[in-house]
């Protein structure tokens, strides 16, 4: 038996998630949990299940500082749909269809964002896989990505392999 202690304000979020997807019991028995806390009771085998959820929650909360011409800006990673480069200027496009200019080289951003499932799909594009709604294949071996915002992006031929890797279709070693 394992106990996880969690902040009470996140309960509603995790409660719905756990009950719908994982059939886990959420208890708020005060004997088991300290005051102002709730606990999840789960078997050892469920640990692997709960882990990515926790990671996801962490990711959803993660914020990254980016350098802009006018200083630094903090953006939540979950808001970013894709990054686009115009020469030296990089624009970060977000879910609410606004964009933010960033003064940082694209390769750097690629490195920073890789753990958050961002992938390079062209010379001047980095996309968040989590924001892809649909993939269209086309006759010239390119891919057309439709994002949840409705924006269409193209995966250039030379980056299709990277994209496959990121999706986990192709093994990393090749």
């Amino acid at each position: 038996m394992l106990k996880i202690i969690w902040n009470k304000e996140d309960v509603e979020k995790i409660k719905s998630r756990l009950s719908s997807d994982y059939n886990l019991v959420l208890t708020d028995d005060p004997n088991e949990v300290p005051d102002h806390k709730v606990g999840i009771i789960l078997d050892d085998s469920d640990l692997e299940k709960i882990k990515p959820i926790l990671e996801m929650l962490a990711y959803e909360q993660s914020q990254i500082m980016f350098q802009t011409p006018s200083g630094w800006i903090q953006l939540p990673v979950t808001e970013i749909t894709y990054l686009e480069a115009f020469g030296d200027d990089i624009y970060a496009h977000t879910l609410n269809m606004s964009s933010q200019m960033i003064k940082q080289p694209l390769y750097q951003l690629e490195e920073i964002l890789r753990p958050y499932h961002f992938v390079r799909i062209g010379k001047s594009f980095i996309v968040s896989i989590s924001k892809i709604r649909y993939i269209r294949t086309s006759f010239n071996a390119k891919l057309d990505l439709e994002l949840v915002t409705g924006t269409h992006l193209e995966v250039s031929r030379s980056f299709v392999k990277d994209f496959k890797n990121a999706l986990g279709i192709q093994k990393k070693e090749d």
């Binding site: 959820i53 989590s130 993939i135 294949t137 986990g168």
Partner: protein
Amino acid sequence: MTLTGWIIVSVLSVVVVIFGARFISDILWNNKLGKFHKTNHVVVPKVSGLYWLKRSYGFVLSSLLVVATVSTGAFSIPITMGERVLVNAAPVQSLSNLMQIIDEANTSPWWNDFFRGDIAVDELAPNMEGAEDYAGGEERDYIGTNTQIEGVDEADIVKTDGYTIYYASRFQNKIRVIDILDDHTAELQADLDLGDLYTDALYLTETQLIVIGYIYTVVPYTYVEGSDYFGWAYVSYSGAVQVYNRETMELEYQLETDSNFYEHRLIGSSLFLISSKSIHTDELRPVFKETEGEEDTVTSYLPYEDIYYFDDMPIYSMTVVTGIQLETYEVTSQAFLGAVSEIFASEDSIYTVNSYYTYTLLNEYRNYSQIVKYDLDTEHATITYVGEARIEGYVGDQYWMDEFEGYFRVVTSTWWPTHNALYILEEDEETDALNIVGSITEGLGKENEQVKSVRFVGNTGYVVTFEQTDPLYRIDLSDPTAPVIVSAIEEPGYSTYMHVWDEEAGYVIGFGFSADNSGRVNGLKISAYDTSDPLITEPLESYQLNGEDEEGIYSYSYSEASYNPKALMVSPDHGIIAFPVMSYRYYYDSEKGYYDYSYVSQFMVFYINFTAEQIISDPIIISHEETYYYAGIDRGVYIDGFIYTLSYTEMQIFDLVNQVVLADDAIQFNVDQELYYGVAYID
């Protein structure tokens, strides 16, 4: 498939492959994306099914196109017969295909099971034939069978060449052969015994006697082992043609088939036969068993390639058209799925008509006739399919049709509501279709009047319609694209048969029924019409057979001629029309002291002369003795001023010049079987 077809289908197939591959890779990619989202617990708005539908458009559409192109046969190589492209008929090619076509055509076949395969359609259809033919013998002057078209002979139970009379006796499978001597007396030769061949159709050539009939075998009840019922008892028919040498009366040739010879025509030495084959037999190909003289019987089957079918036609039987060259005994044949109700033959073509009915989507009853044309090669006795057309209405008998200068004219009638029409058709030059070039769809018949009889001669058509009074319409057909009704003559009653006495003058003789003013039929009549003048709206003269004779004895009369024009002896050249009449008399017998009845059989001969004051002469009546109803006079034959009347029991000779019956010279036939209600009864 044509080259264009192959190119289009292969291009389409490539498109299908490309779209298909793209669609599949789409599925794979999005599958991976979905997996990725799931493992990383990313919630993305669900992709609607519309996306997939859109993405599959190309694939689905192109596949459908390929399927459609191949299945509709849009690019299939056109099947040709001679130089004609077949668009209506198609060969069945194989047994499985044939069975499938039959199955599909009979979607409500529960009642089909009631029809044993052996009972062919012609047994159900009335056999109406006849017409006009005066064949002047080399020396002897005689009146032959009343045929429709000169030069196209039609079979009958009596045939003569002026020297010998051949008479297929009813109820007995025998042919009476009667020589007419120079003093016009008769000598009975030995009967020709046909064995188990029943016939009512004879033809004569100079050297041959052709007998067409059927061989029947009664299949008795059988107990089906293990079941609780008995099998059917039925009569199995097989159509047969037998050719006898007239000199020796030996059988020269026999053709037996599994179908029934329903209609036939003899043109020169080419015999054309239309037969009806059952589609409920084990062997679906028409079978021909030929025996020539003493040789062995040769059995052959019509290949599936020569069996054709039409789309959207009810299929209750198969029609086989066969030609026999009577000098070489070469047989050629073609078959079509579908029935035949009437045929018409000219010297160049045969038309078959299949009158059928369907219900529309709104469940309305509709009557249609499919007309199929065949070209005839009268030298080699071959028949070639030309084309078909479907018109509304039914065709009553062969006289409703005619061909003149390549144009086919046909009158049709429908029930509920009654509607009559005349169509003029012409064969298409490139495809197997008959195109309507002209028609009359209004004005033929008053309200509720149906067509009763039709006659076409040259550029003129005559149509009789009837419900209460009989309008006889004369139609000018000289412009095939615009036929016009020229005149109409009205009288009570109607004609069942019309004979054009003088084409130039427009004189027509009608034979049929008289009726009272309310339209009730009350007897037989002959009428003389002048159709040339639209102002003449009444018949010139009518002769009505009374229901009551001079002695006040009530009787009613009927004549085979009212439904079979071949029973009429008719010749405008001789100015004669004659027919057998059977009268039933019911009277008080004062000797016996009770009411009695009798049958009187008479042959009535009328002289017709349109220039005389009395156009229709008083009848000359040739009576046979009081007799049984089944032994009435069948036919009369005119040879050199004498009339020979034939019945089941006897032949009387009548001297037309002196108007006396030569009773001493009469011939009694050998009736070796007792008749019981018209059926030969054998102990």
